[in-house]
């Protein structure tokens, strides 16, 4: 139904028909009605007509504003406004009339019954959604009034105010997918998503760590060279500890002579460096011996070497000479007699760093 415009004349005709009077009389009546009403409004500023409502003049105060074009401040003049307040009866009729007349009229979308029912349902659903919003945002228990009609069972949970919000949320899951699946998922899965993510991250971390550990173990047991390397490394550490006990730090001692040698190095070193490779490379034979030392508890090759040659590093030569009776240079069998070989001077020159270097090399070699 396109809205028809009903003029005063149409109304006059209708009134005449209803009252059984002439149209002239009706229109005369209406014109009188009009003039009286107009006067009443203009003079009394209020007019009540029973069955219709109240017409009232309202004074709107002048107010300041800004001109849209120029931006100048302007003042909007005060004016009278004619307000109409319908009587409650008429108001209700208009609102209810929509539904009563709708079937006769038929073509108004909002006035047919089915859409109205839908609207009602929508309102109920919206109430539910709103409740959930309240519940989630404030965390306070929501009013049961709205839960009761549309969310059937929630009446039971009214006593347990804390559980209520959860209940509502759960129910919303049921309700919302019908209308607003996107929003529903947003609301419901906001917090759980975060938790899930965290849990996932932790689980993944644990899994990765376990895998890495497993890989390491597998690699250790499956690869022969690696195991050997580990073993040798541990042995090295052990031997170094032992060495520290038996001999004062070799590196320290080797450094000391360097300081004292500085002067002699310039003159002597160069010819020696050239000659020595051959000297050191020649196989050593131990035929001449100075003395023999008896091994007692606590005696070390290094100390013996220091006693006879002036440096602990040269113990290697003693070891070489006594290889048959000394299986392990770190473990001297107590009571055995160690022969101290007579060494050429170029081998045990304390002032020559080359000698020390070579001895150290041998030292490392034998300890391995």
């Amino acid at each position: 139904m396109s809205t028809k415009k009903i003029s005063t004349k149409n109304l006059a005709d209708a009134v005449a028909k209803r009252l059984g009077i002439s149209q002239v009389a009706a229109s005369k009546f209406l014109s009188e009605f009009q003039s009286v009403a107009e006067n009443a409004i203009l003079e009394d500023k209020i007019l009540k007509i029973s069955g219709l409502g109240t017409f009232k003049l309202v004074w709107n105060q002048p107010r300041k504003s800004v001109s849209v074009q120029t931006g100048e401040p302007i003042e909007i003049a005060g004016r009278y406004k004619l307000n109409f307040t319908p009587e409650t009866e008429l108001k209700n009729k208009v609102n209810d009339g929509v539904f009563d007349k709708s079937e006769q009229v038929g073509d108004k979308v909002a006035s047919t019954n089915a859409p109205l029912k839908k609207l009602g349902e929508q309102a109920e659903e919206l109430k539910g959604i709103l409740q959930s919003i309240n519940g989630e945002s404030t965390g306070e228990p929501t009013e049961p009034e709205y839960a009761a009609p549309d969310l059937g069972q929630s009446v039971k949970q009214q006593e347990q105010s804390q559980e209520k919000t959860e209940e509502v949320v759960v129910k919303l899951e049921d309700l919302e997918p019908k209308k607003e699946p996107v929003r529903a998922s947003d609301y419901v899965s906001n917090q759980p998503k975060c938790k899930n993510k965290r849990c996932c991250a932790i689980v993944w971390l644990v899994v990765i760590v376990v895998l890495l550990l497993g890989l390491g173990c597998a690699y250790y047991f499956w690869k022969e060279p690696i195991r050997q390397y580990c073993k040798s490394a541990s042995e090295m550490v052990m031997s170094w500890f032992a060495c520290d006990k038996s001999s004062v730090d070799v590196s320290e001692l080797s450094v000391v002579p360097e300081d004292t040698v500085v002067v002699s190095e310039d003159t002597q070193l160069e010819p020696v460096v050239v000659a020595e490779p051959t000297v050191f490379d020649t196989p050593r034979t131990y035929t001449e011996f100075i003395t023999t030392e008896e091994v007692t508890e606590g005696s070390r090759l290094a100390w013996i070497a220091y006693k006879h040659y002036g440096n602990k590093v040269f113990w290697v030569y003693i070891y070489e000479a006594n290889k048959e009776i000394l299986p392990n240079p770190n473990k001297l069998p107590i009571g055995c007699k160690v022969k101290i070989p007579k060494l050429p001077d170029y081998l045990i020159d304390i002032n020559n760093p080359e000698c020390l270097e070579y001895a150290k090399k041998l030292h490392e070699q034998y300890l391995q």
Binding site: K4, K91, K108, L119
Partner: protein, 95 residues
């Protein structure tokens, strides 16, 4: 001016009894309101137009409880004063 005064005024002008005038007025109002309810735009003499307006449902928040309430869709009776009436109102002395 209330209804009683209005009716007596009208009766005086038309030389009719108040009873008759009440009859006339109620007939007019009935006719008018029934037309309005049907959804028509009805001229209320030269004062203005009466029409039904549709209000969509909306969400409002109670300022006291901060509670959100759905205000359902409804129809309201609206009055729009005519230009002629507005002009006459402008003539009125300022309040």
């Amino acid at each position: 001016m209330n209804n009683k005064e209005f009716v007596s005024e009208l009766a005086q002008r038309m030389n009719l009894s108040q009873k008759e005038v009440v009859q006339y007025v109620s007939a007019f109002v009935d006719e008018l309101s029934s037309n309005v309810i049907e959804g028509n735009q009805v001229a209320f003499l030269n004062l203005g137009m009466l029409e039904v307006r549709h209000k969509k449902q909306r969400i409002s928040v109670s300022p006291i409880t901060k509670e959100r309430i759905v205000v359902p869709a409804k129809r309201v009776l609206a009055f729009k004063s005519s230009t002629g009436m507005k002009e006459k109102l402008k003539q009125l002395p300022k309040a």
